[in-house]
């Protein structure tokens, strides 16, 4: 028994020592623990815990104590999807812009210009990932080819995706989201410099996402790919390479899919866009502002919640059936975490004014 205790204590000590290195990227209570840290007691009790995982309290509301709308312990207000820091001393480079939207949007409100009007406005979200550990939904596309619409009865909480102890990953994302069914770790490298807000001062979210700047300087190396790999640990069958739009996957529901993996041009398939002989810019019409070699999940979707509305000219966006064939919820609730109203994300790349050459 004593030996077992020593082994456990030793393992804990090693884990703590290891965290000092890997968790240093995330300050506050999320890592950077010293060997004699006083931080554990902030959330845990070794012998008198009131909740699982030796927590003093259930985890559902714990995160809101700092990151909620009152934000009494953080500048990242995830409920309202807004960054609150107002530095007197300018950071170089800045970690974000005060009052600008967080890259992931917000759970209750979001500061976005989903209508491309030219200025962001804080508005109630129309769709968001569940995050209270209680409300259930369907993890669309979860599972192997042919396994139905997805995993139903899926309850999500903050810590299913994020590791509160810090792990060196981008936004302290877990290598494997809880209950995702994934088997292999996906570690999303952290940004060289944290950038919590989108870069567009007007609040237009399209194509704003993970490591955009790095990708732009090296367009043929997909940095987005890793984040798509991470998202599709839950949404398994949404992971699709560039050929998936023309190749039947064999799945009854997810037969043909928009690409979320790899980059245009990987494997020497440059001619698909640039034509043959090669012309640059490519003869197909992409929106010049938002064109990029990469397309990933976060190109079109936010992670937490969006205020995009589905009130377009046609009855299409708000009444599209869900993968399981259900019609509800519909209307604005069918916004599916998209970054632009209706299906503006399609137009943002494919630019179909009716006067340009056909897009692929």
């Amino acid at each position: 028994m004593k030996r077992l205790l020593l082994v456990v204590l030793g393992a804990c000590a090693i884990a703590v020592m290891a965290l000092v290195g890997v968790a240093g990227a995330d300050g506050g209570p999320h890592g950077g623990y010293a060997p004699t840290t006083d931080g554990c007691a902030g959330c845990h009790r070794a012998h008198t815990a009131a909740a699982p995982r030796l927590l003093t309290t259930p985890v559902a509301a714990l995160c809101s104590s700092c990151h909620g709308s009152a934000a009494t312990g953080a500048d990242t207000n995830v409920e309202d999807g807004v960054y609150l820091d107002r530095d007197a001393v300018a950071e170089a480079p800045a970690e974000g812009v005060a009052n600008l939207g967080l890259k992931a949007g917000g759970f209750t409100n979001a500061v976005m210009d989903t209508s491309f009007s030219g200025s962001a406005a804080s508005a109630a979200t129309t769709s968001a990932h569940n995050h209270d550990n209680i409300t259930t939904g369907t993890a669309w596309g979860n599972g192997a080819i042919g396994s139905g619409a997805g995993a139903a009865g899926f309850a999500l909480g903050c810590t299913d995706c994020h590791d509160p102890h810090g792990n060196g990953n981008y936004r302290i994302l877990r290598p494997i989201p809880s209950d995702s069914g994934a088997a292999a770790n996906v570690n999303v490298p952290d940004e060289a410099t944290k950038d919590y807000t989108i870069t567009d001062p007007g609040g237009q979210y399209f194509s704003e996402g993970y490591n955009l700047a790095l990708t732009s300087t090296d367009p043929m190396t997909s940095q987005y790919q890793t984040l798509s790999d991470w998202c599709t640990q839950c949404h398994t069958r949404y992971l699709a390479d560039p050929d998936s739009g023309t190749t039947d996957s064999g799945d009854a529901i997810f037969a043909y899919r928009h690409m979320t993996a790899d980059t245009f041009g990987e494997g020497g398939d440059c001619a698909k866009c640039h034509g043959s002989p090669f012309t640059n810019p490519p003869p197909i019409t992409f929106n010049g502002t938002y064109w990029n070699h990469d397309v990933e999940c976060a190109t079109c979707h936010v992670a937490h919640g969006t205020s995009a509305v589905m009130t377009g000219d046609g009855p299409y966006s708000g009444s599209a059936l869900w993968p399981d064939g259900a019609a509800a919820p519909n209307g604005d609730a069918r916004s599916s975490l998209l970054r632009v109203d209706n299906r503006g994300v399609c137009q943002a790349c494919h630019d179909k004014p009716g006067t340009s050459a056909p897009a692929p």
């Binding site: 209570p29 003093t56 509301a61 700092c66 709308s69 953080a74 820091d85 107002r86 508005a123």
Partner: protein
Amino acid sequence: MSSIWSRHRKHPTDEGPAEPLGQPAAAGSTETVGRAAVAGSTEAIGQPAVAVQPAVAVQPAAVAGSTEAIAQSAVAVQPAAAVQPAVDVEPDDPRRRRRLLILLGLLLLLIGTLASILAVYLINPKPLPELLPIDVDYAPHYLFSVYEVDQPIGVGLSPDADMIYVTESGGERLVKMFDRDGNPQRAFAAAGTTPSTRSPVYLDTDTTGRVYVTDRLQHGVFVFDRRGTYLDTLLDPTNALSEYVAKSACRLEQETVFSFNTFEGFVRCTPPGGQAQTLPFPDVDAWSPLGIRIDESGRVLVTDVLQDEHRVRQHFERSPDDPARLNLAAFTGGGTGQDSGQLLFPNVAVADSQGRIYVTDGNNGRVSIWDQRGTHLGTIGTGSGEDALSLPRGAAINSRDRLHVVDAVGQDIKVYDVSGDEPVYLYSFGEEGLEDGQFSFPGDIAIDSSGRLYVTDRENNRIQVWSY
């Protein structure tokens, strides 16, 4: 004893039996049982009947069921004469009377004291620990809860404690006002804001009853009158919106209506009888007010969580008529961090009777203490003992210098005696749960002079009222 005994002898009904009683007692043999039982000493044997006589008075009880001789003796003294004097002589006993008078006096003194305490309490209601000049340290007890609030965070009281003000972090994010019994009175919000662009957090009232509410999203402090009418916005540590409007083309007059929303990037202003105008965004210093406390002396303490400069600001000599005259100078200067003297999301700062400042240093899990000159003195609540703090949020100090700290993750209120040179942990109250007296992420606390405590219970959507 002798005097009492002598009166027994003089009693007219006592004269006959006196001698026979003494004789058998002195005769020895079985009588010695009775004597020993009463006198309790062998000396009684050789004493005259006078000394033995008392044994007879109680003998029946002492030797009940004993020998026949004793029974006979008992019969001999049976005439009520032996017992009766104990009753009959009492009113004539001056010593007993003196005792009774003393007892009566003490009783009257006690009643008078209690009546005085009651009178003082009724005039100026205070809890027992504050009324009595002795240390009475016990945890308060739960009284009732006030509902009709959505995820409350901050709580404050009007100067006479007849109104409770609460900020909401859920729903419409209003400031709600209740009377002392928890009956809803009014709900209000800053002009020009919407639920998604405001986030009222902590609040307090000044001596005139004005309500100051920090807003995390608006990076300012809104000022209302005691009925919730919007008055002004503190745009930064030294500038108020009213000042900005007064210098603008809009002009500031009695009926001028103005508002500000940082997300809009401009100021709306409507002069009396004029048309609405849009004024440019004021050029203000960066700050990020989080907590606010105003004590009876007029000292205003604001915690500022501007990212690299988490600090406490304070203001003295506030003009009672003009909230725009605040000048919230930096009080602490250690910056943001985990080291001694640094702060990491300080939530509120409160002062004790000696002027020392206690800052709930939220993400450092401690309370930092500073003297009046801004020198860091030490901390409270670190470590892992029963006094350890997890995530301290709101705090309040009562008139006996009992520091009450809300521990949001600890799900309780921890109380420290800070009246001496060193803080002393006293007790905590509350625990995690949904029942009365249990908390789910408490946020803030306010204490009135009657010993009532008001605690926001965020995830239970209520305000709990406790009392000493």
